[in-house]
Symmetry: C2
Subunit: 350 residues, 2 copies
């Protein structure tokens, strides 16, 4: 196991609890003997136990972004009304991950393959067994979080009353698979990666910087760069933006953790629940579902999200207009959260 | 100099002549003492010397694609009517390039920085001094070829009667700069690259394969992959497409040559001719100019091309509809060339 990484601490990410859901058998055949989920909550579960909202997390991220930008009394995700549970995805560095398991059989590069379905199974066990929740008022998440939202809605239609996948598809596209492969390539090609046996994530800094630049190319829109939107974020030039945000963000992360998530991202596909029949899988959804693609998203373009939503009975598509592109999810544009809040309030009011 | 690479031969690329334009002083301060341009022609210059068409080449490519798909009696670029001159860009492996110069001062990684303006200066000298041509009926090119077309129209308005930049901008965007950086990163990060002192391009095969996958992510549209358009090209799966086309295409190329072109591509900018004032530079264009962005292009999106064209007096924008994306330039879609031919015939008839 590499040396401890300060990214994956409550000091950096804000408070969370580690909650064991016990032994988790994985879709790919591996097993996590003691699966710990890093869970952050806000608000209180009401007596009727019907005000719970679940938020899975995205690639490279944690619950932190949600608590920083999405959750609060001024937002739709209002802890004075709802019991909000953000569950970090397996492998993200906080929940059981290559960088934090002691078991030598699954640490570092020996961490097992995790699928979106494994996360959803783990989360369902958590909310039912740990919190005693049978119904979720809403499941909402962005990007890989959205992949988990789609999976939730397909697997547990009786549990999920409302679903809001933001900037993510139910079935990952082959283009997105290839893109994610380039992120993987950037990390694994660094000699410092050493097949995952690096002593510190800083040994992989070169690869993580390349990963940052590739993430930037697809994560932010052409118009974001052309209009120098980053200047409004305090970074005047493209180089300032790389030096001041993208590269420090990525070089702080654990390479094996990113690879665990990237492999999972590539293979997100609810059709696995219906022998490969996407329409059949999405046809099972009974949640009131509003898909929210981002207008300039190059990871999960609007038309790909809309195509998946069209297979869900009664689903709506609400395009979030944002020049930033996929990384609008970081809520850097002041016009982003008002659109999200408006859409979620409408959904929650139904 | 690395061992000879069979990619850069008439056997692979079709016939061409090496024509010296003498000493070329470069914008960045370097010099090529004996600059040789690899030139392929079709047709005959008429007595009035007014039927010449010039075609510069794109990144990674040569004149070959043009002769294979764009030039012929059934095409607008008809050698029975026009004298067609395709000039390989400096550094592309056929014209003077890092992989083919004997001069130890500029071979391999010591090859000087080349700009789009250097190519255009060299080409203008070629057509005037070698061919005795004062007017060009048309300058047409795709991608980096389009960058050269824009530069031609700005620098030599008296020479260029018609201009057709296909899938390229007059001023490279910061997004495209960053994207190209990821291509550069993929090559230079390969330990086999050895700072450009590799013994054979095959030593850099890993980096070139990563380069291929990144090129594929942005070069082909999300819809290209989603609809499995590659199956119509004889490659059933994404992996077949990588193994059968993208990776062999890129691993055959010379790394230093690609880096020379990539650096040039990143900095294509006609505004350099007017102290950074893009509108002033494009305002000088007198050619009948039809910009032809490709509908699904992620390198040079339609809106970026259209924004540049809007600054050219009387220019038109004609969107080429193609699901393939930027790499539609390889004319793999049977609906591509009819659109190009139609647009070029209309332009040439004016």
């Amino acid at each position: 196991m590499p040396e401890s990484n300060p990214t994956y601490t409550p000091e950096t990410q804000g408070p969370y609890d580690l909650i064991s859901i016990g032994r988790l058998e994985l879709e790919e055949g591996g097993v996590i003997e003691d699966c710990q989920l890093a869970v952050a909550t806000a608000g209180t579960l009401n007596d009727a136990r019907d005000n719970a909202i679940l938020i899975p997390t995205f690639y490279s991220g944690t619950h932190h972004t949600w608590f920083e930008s999405y959750i609060g009394p001024d937002h739709a995700l209002d802890p004075t009304r709802y019991f909000i549970i953000s569950v970090n995805q397996i492998g993200n560095g906080l929940s059981t991950s290559p960088n934090n398991v002691d078991d030598p059989a699954i640490t570092g590069p020996r961490f097992p393959r995790i699928r979106i379905g494994d996360d959803v199974i783990a989360q369902e066990r958590l909310i039912r067994e740990h919190f005693g929740i049978e119904k979720l008022a809403l499941v909402v998440g962005g990007s890989m979080g959205a992949q988990q939202v789609w999976e939730w809605a397909v697997r547990f239609p009786d549990t999920v009353l409302r679903a809001a996948p933001i900037a993510g598809t139910a079935q990952n596209t082959p283009h997105d698979f290839l893109f994610t492969q380039t992120l993987i390539d950037a990390i694994t090609s660094d000699p410092g990666f050493a097949g995952g046996e690096y002593a510190s994530h800083t040994d992989v800094a070169d690869g993580l910087r390349r990963h940052a630049r590739i993430l930037g190319t697809m994560g932010f829109s052409t118009e974001f760069f052309k209009t120098r939107f980053h200047a409004a974020m305090g970074m005047e030039t493209l180089q300032d933006f790389l030096d001041g945000f993208l590269e420090p963000y990525c070089t702080a992360l654990d390479p094996n953790s990113l690879l665990t998530m990237a492999w999972k991202w590539q293979r997100g596909d609810v059709a696995r629940n219906a022998d490969g029949d996407l329409a059949a899988a999405l046809g099972r959804v009974t949640a009131d579902l509003v898909a929210m693609p981002i207008s300039e998203d190059m990871f999960f373009p609007v038309r790909d999200v809309a195509a998946d939503a069209a297979l869900v009975p009664g689903a709506q598509v609400r395009v979030i207009d944002d020049i930033v592109g996929h990384m609008a999810l970081f809520a850097v544009n002041p016009t982003f959260m008002p659109q999200i809040d408006h859409a979620l309030r409408e959904l929650l009011a139904r």
